[in-house]
Amino acid sequence: MIQSLKILHIEDVKSDAELVERTLRRSDIAFENLVVDTKEEYTKALHEFNPDVILSDHSLPSFNSLDALQILKRTGRNIPFILITATMSEEFAVNVMKEGASDYVLKDRLQRLPSAVINAVRKHQLDNERQVYLDKIFASEELFTKAELLAEFGTWRLDLVTNITNWSAGTYKLLGYKQGEVEPSFENFLKNVHPDDVIEVKRNLKNAFSNFQPASGEYRIINKDGSVRYLYAQFEFELNEKGEPAHIIGFNQDVTRSELAKIEIQKNIEELKAASDRQTGILNAMPPNVALLNEAGKIVAVNESWRKFTIANNLDVPGHGIDFNYLAIFEKATGVDASAIKRIEKGMREVITGARNEFSTEYSYGSDNKEVWFQLIVAPLRDKAQKGAVVLHIDITDRKISELERDRMTADLVQHNTDLEKFAYIISHNLRAPVANIIGASSILNNMEVSSGEKEKLNRGINTSILRLDEIINDLNQILQIKGRINEIKEIVYFSELVEHIKISIRNLIDKDNIEIKYDFSEVNDFFALKPYLYSIFFNLISNGIKYRRQKVHNVIEIRSRLLKNKIELTFADNGMGIDLKKNGDQIFGLYKRFHSNIEGKGMGLFMVKTQVDTLGGKISIKSEENKGTEFKIEFKI
């Protein structure tokens, strides 16, 4: 039911206006009426009267119905406009309707006016309602599209009956098209799918058609600019009332960002792993044993050399010591002395706590009858994540052996030099003694009155001194020859042969003093050496035993050889007069050292023996007790 209508009537002829009003009054329409006949009044009424419907005569003195329509349009308001005119050509009517009039009524047929007004108002109301409805739809669609574009998703729908596909604005964009650029179709979709993913996409779809179950998957789209985007797709079937598939509804989500992030993370992980592999490779390629310690001194990583070392040395620790305290393992390694462990412990703690920058020490490690030397370096490990230390063990055995060898050679050289100095001193002293005697005696002979007896004594003394000089020079020559013969050819020398030979050469001495010479060379009878030296050694030691025999006892000289681990040991024992070693021990092998004034000798024998033993690379020692006997022991390395 239409409420009371406000009718604005444009009419300059009063009778016509009254006629229209009367016509309307006769109908059921409730209304109030305003009649205007100028443009100004009309315009004012549009705003103030706010009509529901406008009735207009065509021709007025100041304007016409077309002007009125124009004015109405300019206000932007949509009010039904009905033209009431006397006569009208068909063409004009069409024209006015085109301009926006709702209807027209001829003056001679005014009885149609009420229904025309009602229709126009109703139609107008319906139009208005539809417009509001449409506006709402448009607004929600716009919102949806906005959401799609912002959230980077899109929907699509395929009608399986008509085979018509619809793509949402978001779908167009996701598939790499402008909205409406192409017909929505599977073919056009496939055009932009990454070639590597096409087969997979087709297969997924085919699978889905076999059971009409929802499906999902990921694929890539190549944009026109060549860039690639990753889409996550889901779709499902809509069934009709018979349970048959009617539509497919699909949903695509752009997951490029998370996908790229995933790829980036994967790449980072791979790079980290590669870097870590590289570092492990470097560590493993290093010859030193390397262990990384944490702040507590626990081993957190080791290299290949370390692993090999623990195996080779039977260090019975699981995992090659990882997770074990370094020092605990170190202490377990038998053959490392306690002071080294203490030293290393201190240095290591200082490096880990930052008290010092680096610690380095050398230590030896006795394993399976061979000594190994290591240099140990502790350097701080200070990355952001953890504090600790890197421990390196470098095998320096070769260097150490050559160092020790060098030290030994140096000591030998120093000893040799001291010997030479002593030798020079003794020689000069002993040469000087007879010379001084000759000078003194000849000075007396020249300057003093002496008796013939004294003169003869002096001459004899001079003569003895000259012989003594000659003797010393011969000794000197002999000694120098020993030292110079070191490069002569060695041969196998049999001890028993040497002794038998010497026994024959000094038979008269042996027989005279009833000396017994016994020997036992059952353990070892031969030695590869310079035979003249060995002969001289045996000769001098045997003669020594005879010379310093004891009166009133049965003198026995016993010679014996023993074969030890890596050396030959020879002993020459006698039961002769012996010597007080406390007093003379350090001089026993000295040149021209004599300890018995009543026994002939010039102090050459033992010096010669010592020199020859030294030259053969051996060692000689003596044990003796006065009135008991003497034992010389010689050791030669083999």
Binding site: H429, A433, A436, S443, K457, S597
Partner: protein
């Protein structure tokens, strides 16, 4: 010239002792000279018999007792004895180490190189010896 000085010779080389004796006698005339080729005998002679000023000519290199060992034993003697004895090392050595060692010994008045010379004998007898 002091004639009451006694002379003691300790050297295992008897020829050197003979040369010394002849030089001493020739230079100083009649003097008491006691020769020893065994240093041990020389030591006991000094300990037992020296009660007046004496001059000792002592060799270094001797087989049973070196001159230095000799002085080590002498050190333990009564001060009364040692007060009388002027010790001179008489050695064939020309080595500076021996000379230094002699200088460092509180009993040694001088280091003489063999052979003993008349001038040295005179300066010692007159108490004017200087190295």
């Amino acid at each position: 010239m002091s004639t009451d000085l006694k002379y003691i010779l300790v050297d295992d080389d008897s020829f050197n002792n003979m040369i010394c004796r002849m030089i001493l006698e020739d230079t100083l005339g009649e003097v008491e000279i006691n020769e020893f080729t065994e240093p041990e005998e020389g030591l006991s002679f000094i300990r037992e018999n020296i009660k007046s000023p004496a001059v000792l000519f002592l060799d270094i290199n001797m087989p049973t007792l070196t001159g230095w060992e000799f002085l080590g034993l002498y050190d333990k003697f009564n001060e009364e004895v040692k007060r009388h004895v002027s010790v001179y090392i008489l050695s064939s050595s020309l080595d500076w180490r021996d000379m230094d060692k002699a200088k460092a010994n509180k009993y040694v008045k001088g280091f003489l190189s063999k052979p003993l010379e008349a001038e040295t004998v005179i300066s010692i007898a007159q108490g004017e010896f200087q190295e």
